[in-house]
């Protein structure tokens, strides 16, 4: 055999060895990766959130340039500014997230106010007795109110706790006597519709004898919360360390790409980065604008600044979930408007008793503003996804990861759609397919 043939034979064998090695290595990586994802599933969300934040705020980091300052210090300074802004926003929000006492108080107030409004609506005044509308309202809204009362009513344990808080409990001062009055008024509230007795009515459910409820041990709850908190500590760390990256991660991945796909992978990565970055930053800006518009509107309606900011932040964030975000904003806003007291709207001529109606109108105006101005202006056609896909994605997201899944559903769809479209376009341009 000549030297040339020998060399070619060796090269062929080397090629086969290389292919086998790459395949075994890829299989191993997939297996280990899958095992790690399965075992460390609790860390995935904090890592995604940290990475997304670093990605979204990268332009801020890039713009923040001081010649004489080392790169690491520049990154730290820019991230400190971003961190402070985020901390301020979440701290404001956290202050207004109700604790156990406030939750009970909120339920009592809401139940009382709803009943009060219902009674005002169907007040049996002598001149309205002949009115045909009143019985109709009673017939239609009465059962609904009964169901609302049933949902908002405190169970015996909650009742005890509420009365304890009202008298001063757990180092907290006694609650307002007004709310205790509301509580007793709620207790006196009977059913608006008396159900007719039917001979076939089912027997009341009897609790199985000897089966005691098994509440989860508080210690394990505490441990789970601690685990969650320690997992979430990863998010800011990922955010900061990805911020320090000066293209090394990209270079590493590009170095793994075969020569044939080198330019293609650079182009695809760049286009994806551009398209996804534009979409995510656009969505963030859109959420911010919606939150700002709602906050300003609520302030104009006389709602205290802190609460208006909290409702604005929550509604702005949830605006990333199409359809549902607006509904949640409506529920939070109208819910607060129903229990709000001593509210003086800054706009003259508004009746404080109709606050819920004004909030409803405000949410509708902000929604229209979002559809007509913010989305086209900020996002353009970046999020051109069919409504049916949107609905399916949101439901699937909620089934897989709950609220977080709903929040990430549309960005994921947009990312996958953009990635596939870009990848196929470039593969064709580079004459690979």
């Amino acid at each position: 055999m000549s030297n040339g043939q020998d060399f070619e034979e060796k090269e062929r064998e080397r090629k086969v060895r290389r292919t086998v090695f790459y395949r075994i290595f890829a299989g191993l990586v997939l297996m280990v990766g899958g095992f790690l994802i399965w075992k460390l599933s609790g860390l995935i969300l904090p890592i995604i959130v940290g990475a997304l934040l670093a990605f979204v705020f990268r332009p801020v980091k890039d713009r923040f340039r001081i010649r004489w300052l080392p790169h690491e210090l520049q990154v730290l300074c820019s991230f400190a500014a971003i961190g402070l802004a985020l901390f301020f926003a979440f701290n404001t929000l956290r202050k207004h997230i109700p604790d156990e006492e406030q939750k009970l108080e909120f339920k009592v107030r809401l139940q009382y106010k709803l009943n009060e409004r219902y009674r005002q609506l169907v007040a049996k005044l002598p001149e309205r007795k002949s009115n045909a509308v009143t019985p109709l309202i009673e017939k239609e809204v009465g059962p609904l109110m009964d169901r609302v009362n049933q949902a908002l009513a405190l169970d015996p344990k909650e009742r005890d706790l509420f009365l304890k808080y009202a008298a001063g409990y757990n180092g907290k001062p006694p609650g307002q006597s007004k709310f205790v009055d509301y509580f007793w008024a709620n207790q006196r509230t009977g059913k608006y519709v008396i159900p007719e007795k039917t001979p076939m009515s089912p027997a009341p459910a009897v609790a199985p004898v000897g089966v005691a409820p098994t509440p989860a041990p508080p210690a394990s709850e505490g441990a789970s919360l601690e685990n969650k908190l320690s997992a979430w500590m990863l998010a800011p760390l990922i955010f900061i360390f990805l911020g320090f990256d000066n293209g090394q991660i990209r270079r590493f991945f590009i170095s793994l790409v075969p020569n044939r796909y080198f330019e293609l992978s650079l182009t695809v990565l760049d286009e994806l980065d551009d398209a996804i970055g534009r979409y995510l930053r656009g969505t963030l800006l859109e959420c911010f604008l919606v939150g700002l518009a709602l906050t300003l509107g609520l302030i104009l309606l006389g709602i205290p600044l802190g609460i208006a900011v909290a409702i604005g932040v929550v509604s702005g964030l949830l605006n990333a979930i199409p359809f549902l975000g607006t509904v949640i904003a409506l529920v939070i806003g109208v819910g607060y408007a129903l229990i709000a007291e001593n509210v003086t709207p800054l706009i003259p001529g508004l009746n404080p008793n109709d606050l819920a109606l004004y909030v409803l109108i405000l949410v509708v105006i902000v929604h229209v503003l979002d559809d007509v101005v913010f989305q086209p202006f900020v996002l353009g056609s970046a999020a051109n996804v069919h409504p049916l896909v949107v609905v399916i994605a949101i439901i699937s997201g909620s089934l897989i990861m709950g609220l977080w899944g709903m929040l990430f559903a549309i960005p994921t769809v947009v990312v996958v759609k953009t990635a596939v479209a870009t990848f196929f376009k470039e593969l064709k341009d580079y004459r690979i397919i």
């Binding site: 340039r65 170095s255 020569n259 080198f262 330019e263 182009t267 580079y430």
Partner: protein, 177 residues
């Protein structure tokens, strides 16, 4: 300090110094200095350019890019040989054979128009690639360095245009005859 310890320390620092002087990064900067494309840049600027370059190794006969593909990067040959060729149905025209220090695919730094020829490694070749969008980003981050690179690029394209004009002028009378 004993003489022996002093000698040991001296040896250590000398070794470290040699190691630092011969790091791949410094080698790359030394190499970039010899490329006419970057001859206007200082060491500091060359370090920045070097940081955004990708090093690739091509086996003999491996294609670097093909005619008709969108261009995305300029290539500099660190070592090895590259043939620039045009393939036609019946023949292959070799336009040039480039060696260490030469560069090709420079038009890709301007836009993504299709490559006008094929580039193929004739032997095992190491090359540095400068990606267009990285250079575009450089305009915002280090405008002076980017300007100098674009200036070199413009000068080089001007030279080639002049050369082409001269060739056309030389060829035209003969064609007319």
């Amino acid at each position: 300090m004993s003489t022996r310890k002093f000698a040991a320390d001296k040896l250590l620092w000398e070794t470290l110094g040699r190691w630092k002087r011969s790091s791949p990064e410094l080698d790359r900067i030394q190499f970039l200095k010899t490329v006419p494309f970057f001859d206007r840049l200082s060491n500091r600027q060359l370090k920045r350019v070097s940081d955004i370059m990708f090093e690739r190794t091509y086996e003999a006969d491996e294609t670097i890019f093909e005619e008709g593909q969108p261009g995305a990067a300029l290539f500099l040959i660190l070592d090895g040989k590259v043939a620039i060729e045009i393939y036609r149905e019946t023949s292959t025209t070799r336009l040039a054979v480039l060696e260490t220090g030469a560069f090709f695919g420079e038009m890709a730094l301007l836009d993504d128009t299709a490559r006008s020829a094929n580039a193929r490694a004739l032997e095992r070749t190491r090359a540095l690639a400068l990606y267009r969008n990285d250079l575009n980003e450089f305009v915002h981050r280090h405008p002076k360095t980017a300007c100098q690179i674009y200036h070199s690029l413009a000068g080089m394209i001007g030279d080639r245009l002049r050369l082409t004009n001269e060739l056309v002028q030389m060829k035209t009378p003969a064609d007319m005859a």
